[in-house]
């Protein structure tokens, strides 16, 4: 049964990317423009600021946020992948395979994790010329870095799949994708330090898992981990587990005749 699970993961990757590197690269380019164009432009008007006791340039600040934006973008494809299967009759076909239904969703999640983590790492690597001065990734911060990436991918992957369980028409696919990702990215610490934001935005930001992911990732990349980041990691872990449980409940309840 493990074999068929692995084959389902490969199938998900193949049907989404057709295993073509060009498509994978094209998904990187829009977010890399934030790193190489927007960050430098904003740096001209945003002076360096202090986070966790260290002075940081806006370009350095933005890069971990962009990594997470990439993870969010690719993880949200999970819902679209699921919808494409549903729309083209493949969901029913794959449901007739001799594996538990949960394998279908878990294999989707696995494919999402592989693609989003690969593209997250690709952005970190491509941003190294800019980051090299401030990057302090230590052995003890790597687990937090990975937790931040993985949790973000699981949360957004599963949430998008849950939403797409209820989507009935193709015109809603783009709308729901945008509605899921844009507000969550803007109302988080991806683009700006939340502590400097107006109170209302700060309140929303503190309810947003992406804020915790971004904070933990920044602290792990810049070597500024404090007890606060460990606490944020714990909150992130709890949110991730809650989303996994919610996803299981929805996927179990939504039988094929109601999808």
């Amino acid at each position: 049964m493990t074999g068929i699970f692995g084959r389902l993961v490969v199938r998900n990757l193949q049907t989404t990317y057709d295993l073509k590197p060009a498509l994978f690269v094209s998904l990187l380019i829009p977010n890399l423009m934030y790193v190489f164009i927007a960050a430098f432009a904003y740096e001209q008007i945003i002076p360096p600021f202090i986070i966790n006791g260290i002075q940081i340039d806006y370009a350095d600040f933005l890069i971990p946020g962009v990594v997470l934006m990439q993870v969010v973008t690719l993880s949200s494809l999970g819902g679209a992948m699921f919808w494409t299967d549903k729309h083209n009759g493949m969901l029913e076909q794959l449901y007739s395979l001799p594996v538990p239904r949960s394998y279908y969703f878990l294999s989707k999640l696995c494919a999402i994790l592989i693609s989003s983590l690969a593209s997250g790492f690709a952005i970190v690597l491509l941003s190294l010329p800019i980051l090299s001065g401030s990057l302090h990734l230590e052995y003890y911060s790597v687990p937090l870095f990975l937790l931040s990436l993985t949790a973000c991918s699981i949360i957004f992957g599963f949430v998008s799949m849950i939403i797409f369980c209820y989507v009935k028409t193709p015109d809603n696919v783009t709308v729901y994708s945008r509605l899921l990702t844009t507000p969550l990215i803007v109302l988080s610490s991806v683009f700006y330090p939340l502590q400097y934001a107006p109170r209302l935005i700060r309140t929303f930001g503190n309810l947003n898992p992406l804020t915790y992911s971004a904070d933990v990732m920044r602290a792990s990349m810049f070597g500024t981990i404090t007890t606060f980041e460990y606490l944020e990691s714990l909150i992130l872990l709890v949110i991730t587990l809650s989303v996994v449980v919610a996803a299981k409940v929805v996927f179990d309840r939504k039988q094929l005749d109601t999808l």
Binding site: G3, D18, N88, P100
Partner: protein, 270 residues
């Protein structure tokens, strides 16, 4: 154990294959299925013998697809029980799924993959070896006349070609029981005949086929036995020949219409 005698006059009968001892592939006992207040199946019972082509006939919305979905473990029955090769569709769904193949009524394909990749990927997911995938995919691509489209994306194909691809994909492997839910819809006459003959060939090789249609000539050409269902109730199960004799009609279509007419008449009287 059931003794099945194949009837003559169609590809159903092959030399030396006129009589077979078979076991039960599908057994349905008092199955009902409701969707909210709508009862799609009401107390349906029948059995399908191993190695036979069983036709499941009925008008649109009669419950044919619902029956297939229950037997393929895609949905659960509201009442009653069903087994496939002795495995319960509710409690042993994974075992059931190991034995079955499914060609759904609606189209199903990977839209952005080529025809070749659609077929080979499915073989891969099912765990066929590379050699098996290559040899069988070449064979089915030729058989279903898809050779000139192998590199074309599935989404770019016409309806009929998509349907051919969908059926071809299922023939890459050899399930013990194949559900074909109105598989010939959208096929041209040549592809339709090819598909029916291929189904018969597979059945002669031991595969059990559960074939739903509302095309009576197809059922008469192909099926060993047929069941007629209307408004979720099973009306009759018999061989096409017996149904023609029982209704005094020359062909299955007339026999079918007569059975449906009588049922509606009796229903109105009740």
């Amino acid at each position: 154990m059931t003794r099945v005698v194949a009837v003559s006059g169609s590809p159903k009968m092959e030399k030396g294959n006129t009589e077979r001892i078979t076991t039960c592939a599908v057994e349905v006992k008092g199955v009902s299925k409701s969707f909210g207040n709508v009862e799609a199946l009401t107390d349906v019972s029948f059995s399908v013998n191993e190695g036979e082509v069983f036709g499941y006939l009925g008008p649109n919305g009669s419950g044919k697809t619902t029956t297939v979905r229950v037997l393929a473990t895609l949905i659960m029955p509201t009442r009653g029980s069903a087994t496939v090769f002795g495995y319960d569709v509710q409690d042993e769904s994974l075992k059931v799924r190991e034995c079955i193949g499914l060609v759904q009524q609606g189209l199903s394909y990977e839209p952005y993959l080529s025809v070749l990749k659609n077929i080979t990927l499915y073989g891969y997911v099912y765990g066929l070896s590379k050699r098996e995938i290559i040899s069988t995919s070449e064979e089915v691509i030729q058989l279903f006349g898809l050779s000139e489209y192998v590199n074309r994306k599935a989404v770019e194909l016409s309806l009929g070609l998509k349907r051919r691809l969908q059926i071809a994909r299922e023939f890459v492997r050899n399930p013990r029981l194949l559900f074909l839910d109105e598989p010939t819809v959208g096929l041209d006459p040549e592809a339709k005949r090819l598909t029916l003959d291929l189904i018969r060939k597979k059945a002669n090789g031991g595969m059990t086929v559960f074939f739903t249609t509302h095309n009576m000539s197809e059922a008469e050409y192909l099926c060993d036995r047929v069941a007629i269902i209307e408004r979720g109730r099973l009306l009759v199960v018999d061989t096409p020949e017996s149904l023609k004799i029982r209704t005094g009609k020359d062909n299955l279509e007339d026999a079918y219409l007569e059975i449906i007419r009588r049922n509606r008449h009796d229903g109105n009287l009740r």
